[in-house]
C-alpha cells in the first residue's frame, strides 16, 4: 500500500470532538494529526470580571467528567491567591470527593469506553447484552463512586457543597458509615476487575517519553504538591508555565505542550511512573499482578494504570472514612479569605493528568485566568505515538490501522471538551 488516507471524523467513546487525520503518500507518512475540533469554550474570557466565589462553579462546567477536579483546582487557585488555608477536615473531605471522581471516571473509562475494544463489541450497549455481569459490575462500582461524591458535595458532575475555604454542607455520620460499608464490600468487584484486565492482551507498542505528575513527599499526590518529571527535576506549582510551554497548532482548537522533549505524558500511567513508591500497598501488588513495573512505556497500558489507581483510591478512601468517622466530623464554617486581591495557582491530578488553574484577583473580582488541561498536555505526545506507530503497522488493512489508532487515542482517555479552552497565549507557529 503506497497511498492511504484515514480520516476518523469525531472519534467515539471519548469526551468531546476530535478527528484523526492520517495521510500516507508513497509509503511515507505525510500527515498524522489528532485534530481537536471541539468548539472553543472561552472559559478564561468568561471568568474575567466574575466574583471569585463563582469561579469553581463556572470552571466545573469545563468538563462533566472531571467537574470535581476542576472545582478542586479552581478552589486551590483562589485560596492560594487570597491566602486561605483550608482545615485538615476540609482537605480530607476534598480528597474523598476527589477519589469519588477518580473512581467514577476511571471505571467509566476502563469498563465502558475501553473494554468494548478488547471484547470485540462496538460499545457498552451490546456489551450489556453480551456480558451483563461485567456491565452490571461497572454500574455498581460507578454508583458507589457517584454516591460518595453525592454525600460530600451533592453530586459528582458539578459539585455543590465545595466552596472557597471549605464546605457548605457535611455528610452525616450515618452516611459515612454506610458508604464505608459499601466500600468494603466493593473489594470483591475490585478483584474481578483486576482479573478481567489481567486477561486482556495489550497491543505491543512502546515509546519512551517524558512522564510528568504532581509529587508529594508523604503520599501519592492528587491535590497540590510539586511538579515532577521522570526525566528528572521538580518545579513549584507557580512555575507551571515553564513546564507546560503551551503552543497552538492550526489543526486543533486545543493547545499542545512540551517540556524537556518535544512532548510529554500526564495521567494515570505518568503518575504511576513518577509516584510508584507512594502507591497504597494493595495497589502496588495489583500493579505487579498486572505486570506494571515502572517505567512503563506502552501507552496502551494507561487503562491498566487506571485499574491500579482504582484500587489505590478505594483503599485510601477507606482510610479517610475511618479517620473522619473516628474524629467525628464537625461543622466548620468555610475559612474566610485574608485578602481580596492576589494571584494563585492551584493544581490537581485529575483522572487524565495534571490540571492547573491560575487566577489573578483584584478586589474579589477575577482579572486574569488561565487553565492548563491534561488532555492539552497529552496531545503532542499522542501525535508522537501515532507517528511512531503508523509506520510499524502499515502492512495492515486500513480498518485495522484505524482501529489501532482509535484505541491508542482512546487509551489516553482524552477529555476534549476540557482541552478546547483556549487561552491568551503566545503563538509559537
Amino acid at each position: 500500500m503506497t497511498d492511504m488516507k484515514i480520516n476518523v471524523h469525531h472519534i467515539t467513546r471519548v469526551e468531546g470532538h476530535g478527528n484523526i487525520v492520517v495521510n500516507v503518500v508513497n509509503g511515507e507518512l505525510e500527515q498524522c494529526d489528532l485534530a481537536i475540533v471541539e468548539t472553543p469554550r472561552f472559559f478564561e474570557a468568561m471568568l474575567k470580571g466574575r466574583h471569585y466565589s463563582e469561579a469553581s462553579h463556572i470552571t466545573s462546567r469545563i468538563c462533566g467528567i472531571c467537574a470535581t477536579g476542576h472545582a478542586t483546582a479552581s478552589l486551590r487557585a483562589t485560596e492560594n491567591a487570597l491566602g486561605v488555608v483550608p482545615t485538615k477536615q476540609t482537605e480530607l473531605l476534598r480528597k474523598l470527593a476527589f477519589f469519588g471522581e477518580i473512581l467514577d471516571s476511571h471505571i467509566l473509562h476502563v469498563y465502558m469506553l475501553v473494554a468494548p475494544d478488547f471484547l470485540g463489541v462496538g460499545s457498552v450497549i451490546p456489551l450489556a447484552k453480551q456480558e451483563p455481569e461485567i456491565v452490571m459490575r461497572a454500574l455498581r462500582m460507578k454508583k458507589l463512586s457517584g454516591d460518595l461524591c453525592a454525600i460530600i458535595a451533592g453530586r459528582h458532575t458539578h459539585p455543590i457543597a465545595m466552596t472557597v475555604g471549605g464546605f457548605t454542607h457535611y455528610p452525616t455520620k450515618e452516611e459515612l458509615l454506610d458508604i464505608r460499608k459499601r466500600f468494603e464490600a466493593v473489594r470483591v468487584d475490585l478483584k474481578e476487575t483486576v482479573d478481567l484486565f489481567e486477561s486482556l492482551d495489550l497491543p505491543a507498542f512502546t515509546r519512551e517519553t517524558e512522564y510528568i505528575a504532581l509529587r508529594k513527599p508523604d503520599e501519592y499526590a492528587f491535590i497540590d504538591g510539586e511538579i515532577a518529571s521522570s526525566d528528572g527535576g521538580t518545579w513549584p506549582l507557580e512555575d507551571y508555565l515553564s513546564v507546560t510551554n503551551e503552543y497552538l497548532v492550526p489543526h486543533s482548537s486545543a493547545k499542545h505542550a512540551k517540556n524537556k522533549r518535544n512532548s510529554y505524558m500526564v495521567g494515570a500511567l505518568a503518575r504511576i511512573n513518577v509516584n510508584f513508591d507512594k502507591l497504597h500497598p494493595h495497589a502496588k501488588s495489583v500493579a505487579e499482578q498486572l505486570g506494571l513495573a515502572p517505567v512503563v512505556t506502552n501507552p496502551y497500558a494507561i487503562s491498566v494504570a487506571q485499574v491500579v489507581e482504582i484500587v489505590h483510591a478505594v483503599e485510601e478512601s477507606l482510610n479517610i472514612l475511618d479517620e473522619l468517622v473516628g474524629n467525628c466530623l464537625k461543622w466548620e464554617e468555610p475559612v474566610k479569605p485574608k485578602r481580596l486581591s492576589g494571584e494563585g495557582v492551584g493544581a490537581a491530578e485529575v483522572p487524565r493528568g495534571t490540571l492547573f488553574h491560575h487566577y489573578t484577583i483584584e478586589d474579589g473580582v477575577i482579572q486574569k485566568a488561565n487553565c492548563v488541561i491534561p488532555t492539552g498536555q497529552n496531545l503532542a505526545n499522542i501525535e508522537a505515538d501515532m507517528r511512531e506507530l503508523v509506520p510499524t503497522i502499515l502492512d495492515k488493512s486500513q480498518a485495522e490501522i484505524t482501529q489501532s489508532l482509535e484505541m491508542l487515542v482512546r487509551a489516553y482517555d482524552p477529555c476534549i471538551s476540557c482541552s478546547a479552552h483556549l487561552l491568551n497565549v503566545e503563538f509559537v507557529r
Binding site: P40, E44, G49, I62, G122, L139, A161, L248
Partner: protein
C-alpha cells in the same frame, strides 16, 4: 409537540454541541438506577459512549449550545430526521454557562483569546438550540436531574408532552425542609427559578444559581430588591442572574456588534 404518538422501543439518538457533556454522563448514570431503560428505548447514537451511529432515529436528545454557524447545519439535519427533538440540559435549553461570553462584545472576546489568529476558529454568540430549530421539549438543569430525565423518557414513551415544573424552587426547597439560605445570611435565586431539581443546591448549602431558567411569571423587580437588600450591588445582581441565563438577560446583543465570520 403537534401530534401525540405512542412509541414502542423508539430509536433514540444523543447529540452534543458546545457543552461539558455532563448531561450525557448523567444519562449514562441513570442506567445505574434504571437499567430497564435499555429495554424501553433503542439507543442508536451516543458518541460519548458508543461507536455505532445511525441516521435513523425518532427521538433526538441534544446537549450543548449552538456557538458557531457550522452548528446550525447539523442541528437542522437532526431536526429534519427526528420526530421529537428534546433539549438536554441548560446549555441546550438556555445557552447556559456558554452564554457568559455573550456579555462582552464578541470581537473583544475573540481578540482576547485568539490574538492575531482570530480567524483560525469559527465562533459566534452562544445560544440555546431553540434559537436555531423548533424543539418539542426540554430537560433543564446543569447538569440535568437523573430522575427527571427518566420521567421525561417515560412521558415521551407514553406519547405525552413532557411536563416540566413551572413553579418556583422555594416550593420544593420547603418540601425538603431546608432552612432558607436568606436566614443563613446567604442569597438564592429560588423564588424566580423553576423547580424540579429537588432544590439540590440549597439542600447542599448553596444558593440557587438559576441553571433551570426562570419560571414563566418571575417577579424580577421584587427579586432584585430582595438581593439588593441583602447587600448585592446592582452589578452583582445582574451578574447573579447571568450565570446561566446570560442569553435571556442580555440576549445576543453582542452578536450584532461583532462579526460572525
Amino acid at each position: 409537540m403537534a401530534q401525540y404518538e405512542r412509541y414502542i422501543r423508539p430509536k433514540v439518538a444523543f447529540f452534543d454541541f458546545t457543552s461539558c457533556e455532563g448531561c450525557q454522563l448523567t444519562v449514562l448514570d441513570s442506567l445505574q438506577t434504571s437499567p430497564e431503560l435499555l429495554d424501553m428505548i433503542e439507543i442508536v447514537e451516543f458518541r460519548e459512549a458508543m461507536s455505532e451511529r445511525s441516521n435513523e432515529y425518532q427521538i433526538a436528545f441534544v446537549e450543548g449550545s449552538c456557538t458557531r454557524p457550522a452548528d446550525e447545519e447539523r442541528l437542522k439535519t437532526i431536526r429534519s430526521t427526528a420526530s421529537l427533538v428534546i433539549a438536554l440540559g441548560a446549555c441546550a435549553h438556555l445557552g447556559g454557562i456558554n452564554a457568559i461570553k455573550n456579555l462582552r462584545p464578541l470581537p473583544e472576546v475573540r481578540a482576547d483569546v485568539y490574538g492575531d489568529k482570530a480567524d483560525w476558529y469559527d465562533t459566534y454568540a452562544a445560544r440555546p438550540i431553540s434559537a436555531v430549530i423548533d424543539i418539542d421539549g426540554f430537560i433543564p438543569g446543569c447538569p440535568i436531574d437523573r430522575d427527571e430525565f427518566i420521567r421525561v423518557v417515560k412521558m415521551l414513551l407514553q406519547g405525552r408532552q413532557p411536563i416540566i415544573p413551572d413553579h418556583p424552587l422555594c416550593i420544593e426547597c420547603k418540601l425538603k425542609e431546608n432552612v432558607c439560605l436568606y436566614l443563613r445570611g446567604k442569597i438564592c435565586l429560588g423564588p424566580i427559578v423553576r423547580a424540579g431539581c429537588g432544590a439540590i443546591c440549597p439542600t447542599y448549602g448553596d444558593g440557587c444559581e438559576g441553571c433551570r431558567g426562570l419560571i414563566t411569571n418571575p417577579n424580577l423587580d421584587s427579586m432584585k430588591m430582595v438581593l439588593e437588600e441583602h447587600g448585592l450591588s446592582f452589578e452583582e445582581v445582574e451578574q447573579k442572574l447571568s450565570m446561566f441565563m446570560a442569553y435571556q438577560t442580555a440576549g445576543i446583543k453582542s452578536e450584532a456588534e461583532g462579526a460572525t465570520s
